[in-house]
């Protein structure tokens, strides 16, 4: 086995130290602002929204709340505590917060705090009449293209298709049953040859045909005395 090589340096030192410097300077600037406000006796206010923030609009696609369901992942220790930083659950990149609950998560995505962090104002553009009319026309066109709705439901055709499907299913089942019965008969015959005595236990329905060859009384007597499986094992073959 190869010796553990994880101690070798695979990362770029300069790049990461530059990142660390940047983060530290940001933190220092922020804490400086807090400190100044405190000294002046005033409350520290979040910096105002930049004028080029875009206005909030509706979600174009559904949120995917189930993608990590039933998945097991490795997380760093302390992942269950508090909201800050990456942990187990829904993680928000922009705000560096983790949420354990899907409802809390959606609430956060709608919150002022998050919208500002993503660069959106928490206001929605008012729609004008033209926009409404245009949107409705677009939706109609899209619906026609998809071909949904408005299709004539041909009951006769659907019934015919359903009948055909059922017939196919029935045929398949019959085939399967035949194969299964044939297999069981093979097994019975083999056992019967080995034992010369009762049929294998447990196969009641399938062994019906086979069991008639042996004397049913002898079989019953043998089973009572414990000779049911012949010279083989009495373990139940399912």
């Amino acid at each position: 086995p190869k010796p553990n090589q994880n101690f070798r340096r695979t990362w770029n030192r300069e790049e990461w130290s530059a990142k660390a410097q940047e983060r530290e300077s940001h933190d220092r600037a922020a804490s400086k602002l807090h400190h100044e406000a405190k000294l002046a006796g005033k409350k520290f206010h979040r910096p105002p929204t930049p004028p080029d923030a875009s206005s909030t609009s509706a979600r174009a696609s559904r949120l995917n709340l189930e993608e990590n369901l039933n998945k097991t992942t490795l997380v760093p220790a302390g992942a269950g505590v508090g909201k800050r930083g990456r942990g187990a659950g829904f993680y928000c990149e922009a705000c560096d917060l983790t949420f354990k609950d899907s409802l809390q998560w959606v609430d956060h995505l709608n919150s002022k705090q998050h919208l500002h962090a993503v660069g959106e104002r928490d206001e929605v553009v008012v729609a004008t009449l033209e926009m409404v009319v245009e949107r409705l026309a677009w939706l109609k066109r899209r619906r026609e293209e998809e071909g949904v709705g408005g299709e004539e439901v041909d009951l006769a055709r659907r019934l015919a298709e359903r009948a055909r499907a059922e017939e196919e299913e029935r045929v398949q089942k019959r085939e399967k049953r035949k194969v299964a019965r044939r297999e069981r008969k093979e097994r019975e015959r083999k056992l019967g040859k080995e034992a010369g005595f009762g049929s294998g236990d447990g196969d009641r329905a399938g062994g019906g045909g086979e069991g008639d060859e042996e004397d049913p009384d002898a079989v019953a007597m043998a089973r009572m005395m414990g000779f049911a499986g012949g010279f083989g094992t009495t373990k139940k073959r399912s």
Partner: protein, 215 residues
């Protein structure tokens, strides 16, 4: 001019609401407190009814497949959530009429009719909703007891006569008789028109007329 993304800001109870009032109150208060709270806590409201304006609401409205108030364990239907959204957005008259008059989407029409009944004045309600009595399309209703079927014209009739529809107590408006007496409204002209007058004459006509309220 913009809508606030968060509807809760419009529910300031200190009395500072400065927007348009309907029936004398903040329109969001037309819905009872319990129902309001349930709407705010529902996933549909948070995920899909967030950040809509009158145009993007159409995306959601055309995806509606049933009307109703609350269903199973007191969950609000998407229909109810979108009605509440309309109450928050308070679109103009023309926009609502666009919603109402669109012939392709019947649930959008039901939504617009519901909004009209909740917010417009009595005369306008009767004038605008009575022509919808000619729409015989089916609607699915989901309620606490399960699924049901109704028709667009039955739904409109419920809106005009009943007191509580889709778990919202409808604001009181004067009955048609009172308005006619006060001369604010013309006497009702049924869509069946001449068929009603000649009803005594032939049996065929009677069977043809579906829901004539004026016998």
């Amino acid at each position: 001019m913009a809508h606030l993304a968060d509807a809760k800001a419009l529910l300031d109870n200190r009395g500072h609401y400065t927007g348009q009032t309907f029936h004398g109150v903040n329109p969001l208060l037309l819905v009872e407190k319990i129902i309001r709270e349930r709407i705010f806590e529902s996933l549909y409201w948070k995920e899909q009814a967030f950040g809509l304006n009158a145009a993007t609401l159409l995306d959601r409205a055309v995806e509606l497949t049933y009307i109703g108030g609350q269903y199973s364990n007191q969950r609000p239907t998407p229909f109810l959530c979108l009605t509440f959204k309309l109450l928050q957005l308070q679109p103009s008259r023309e926009i609502i009429l666009v919603y109402l008059n669109d012939p392709d989407f019947k649930y959008l029409r039901a939504l617009a009719a519901f909004y009209i009944r909740l917010t417009w004045s009595a005369v306008d309600i009767y004038r605008t909703l009575e022509p919808l009595m000619g729409d015989y399309r089916k609607l699915k209703v989901r309620g606490m007891g399960g699924w049901r079927m109704t028709y667009v014209d039955e739904f409109v009739d419920e809106l005009l006569t009943k007191e509580r529809v889709c778990d919202i107590a409808l604001p009181h408006i004067k009955t048609r008789a009172m308005l006619e007496d006060a001369d604010e409204l013309e006497p009702r002209e049924s869509l069946l028109g001449s068929e009603v007058e000649s009803e005594g004459e032939s049996d065929v006509e009677e069977d043809k007329g579906a829901n004539s309220g004026d016998e």
